[in-house]
Symmetry: C2
Subunit: 307 residues, 2 copies
């Protein structure tokens, strides 16, 4: 039984997500030939040097031409222009997918450019690290993580099934979700937390009475987890917030409301309110560990793994 799902796949954008896809595809032998393209010649050179993609092309159109699946792996704000560029060369029956962290906006901007006879199946792997670029990827990134498929109206079931097979072959668990719901869920589990972490790190940096070197030295207790999140790629995150505006602002509004209530409890010395709130949030952590979505090792296991 051959595991090959597509003869030819093109990855447009060669950063963390695309490079991890490539290594996962190779690990399982899911594709005949993988072509790739990145905007800068620097990234393309790096890709050629480290063997990322079977063939690195000098234009998106060249990479996409003749491919059975083209995956847009660029920041959300760049998807439309890439789609416009490759639209003329797509072969009939090909599938376009993407890995963008926001789905409604990608659908609204990319779908109008999909040629007749080409399928469109948006997707979003819920996996990543704070690192980016072509050398950040590794084959295990998607193992046991979720990949959400967000089929549009009239998405071809066979195209959806093939893409599902690809993500499963790369190690992911696949589910389907509606675009607006996706954007709300991600606003809660990813977008709002990222903005909050960026904000807190910015505040610390900005505080005159505590020096940066103190912040850095004494970061162990809580803050350094925020700094990891706030080290993520600025372009990617700018695009996420600009394109998932409504859901992100809704969640931040709820967050601020709750934060004010807790600040009030601190100010008035309402220890019971604080204690109850903190007891409650523990249960969610337990659930995440039981669902296999994080390690129970103290500090994510990093303390004992010191060099």
């Amino acid at each position: 039984m051959s595991k090959q799902i597509y003869d030819r796949v093109a990855l447009i954008g060669l950063g963390l997500i695309a490079s991890s896809m490539f290594w996962a595809i190779k690990r399982a032998g899911l594709v005949g030939e993988v072509t790739g393209y990145a905007r800068s010649s620097e990234t393309r050179d790096t890709a050629r040097r480290i063997g990322l993609c079977d063939r690195v092309c000098d234009s998106a159109a060249e990479a996409a031409e003749g491919s059975d699946l083209v995956v847009l792996c660029v920041p959300v704000g760049a998807m439309e222009s890439v789609m416009k560029e490759i639209a003329p060369v797509l072969k009939p029956g090909a599938t376009i997918s993407d890995v963008g962290s926001v789905k409604r906006h990608v659908i609204e901007t990319v779908q109008p450019h999909i040629p007749e006879g080409v399928h469109f199946v948006p997707a979003h792997p819920l996996a990543g690290t704070e690192h980016s670029g072509p050398e950040a990827g590794f084959a295990e990134l998607y193992d046991n993580r979720w990949c959400l498929l967000v089929p549009v109206e009239n998405s071809d079931p066979k195209a959806v099934a093939a893409l599902r097979g690809l993500w499963e072959g790369m190690g992911a668990n696949v589910e389907e979700m509606e675009a607006d719901h996706h954007d709300l869920v991600l606003a809660v589990t990813s977008h709002a937390p990222h903005l909050i972490a960026y904000t807190m790190v910015g505040v610390a940096d900005d505080l005159r009475r505590v020096t940066d070197s103190e912040v850095i030295k004494y970061s162990a207790a809580g803050f350094r987890d925020f700094t990891r999140i706030a080290a993520s790629d600025p372009t990617m995150w700018r695009d996420v917030f600009l394109t998932n505006k409504d859901a992100t602002l809704e969640i931040l509004g709820r967050f601020t409301e709750e934060l004010f209530a807790l600040q009030r409890a601190i100010r008035t010395g309402d220890g019971d309110h604080l204690f109850d709130y903190f007891t409650h949030t523990r249960a969610i952590r337990r659930g995440i560990i039981e669902a296999g979505q994080d390690t129970d090792a103290p500090n994510f296991g990093r303390e004992r793994a010191k060099p």
Copy 2:
């Protein structure tokens, strides 16, 4: 050359911090005999079963009597009552220290009960995990972490030097800091981030349109780091916020101000502001890694360490 620094040390409270101290003390042979006491018979039984402390006593006074150093390892709100209980049995020349996460409040409530001829040297090791209790400790917890000594007026230099030696012997880097500055620095690097994480996890749990199981399943991207922080002990954190009220509220005020500015940038589509802000915060992360206070491995190294 003997490494022994004290003949007898008493640990009052046998949770994460005290148990890690015990194992670190034993690893380096820093103390002749370590006695211990915890409030519940359950914790004392566990301590006896796992060999935590050379002698587990049934009262704080019994553990403290005859000790050269007594370390208060209970929640900040419980320090005063423990101090009152042990004051009558302390031997002249003994040192009282603590590990509380807040220092001004501990000094204000504990110092009045220190008997004549007994030294008082408050301290705070900046190390911990989200786990608590007598079985959570391990000898390596303080390795290469900071321990802040916060001597009070007229702290005896010899008592300070001995305590420094103990913490260095347990693997920590030691610095001295003034109490109010300590409380402000910790509000930035630890207390405010914890409250923010608790808040975000509470908001996610509370949101009707996204189910808890979705939050748990799709937590990979950012949110699960918050849930780890928000899994910390509710009693300890209630006490921290109630006793470091002013500094915490000050930092949360600054945080809210900044968050509003970023929300506004999202609302008005000011991508440049977001991009600049996110670029800036990356530098802090770089500093923390260069200072050896965190790992540079993606996701704290947990992705590749999966079972």
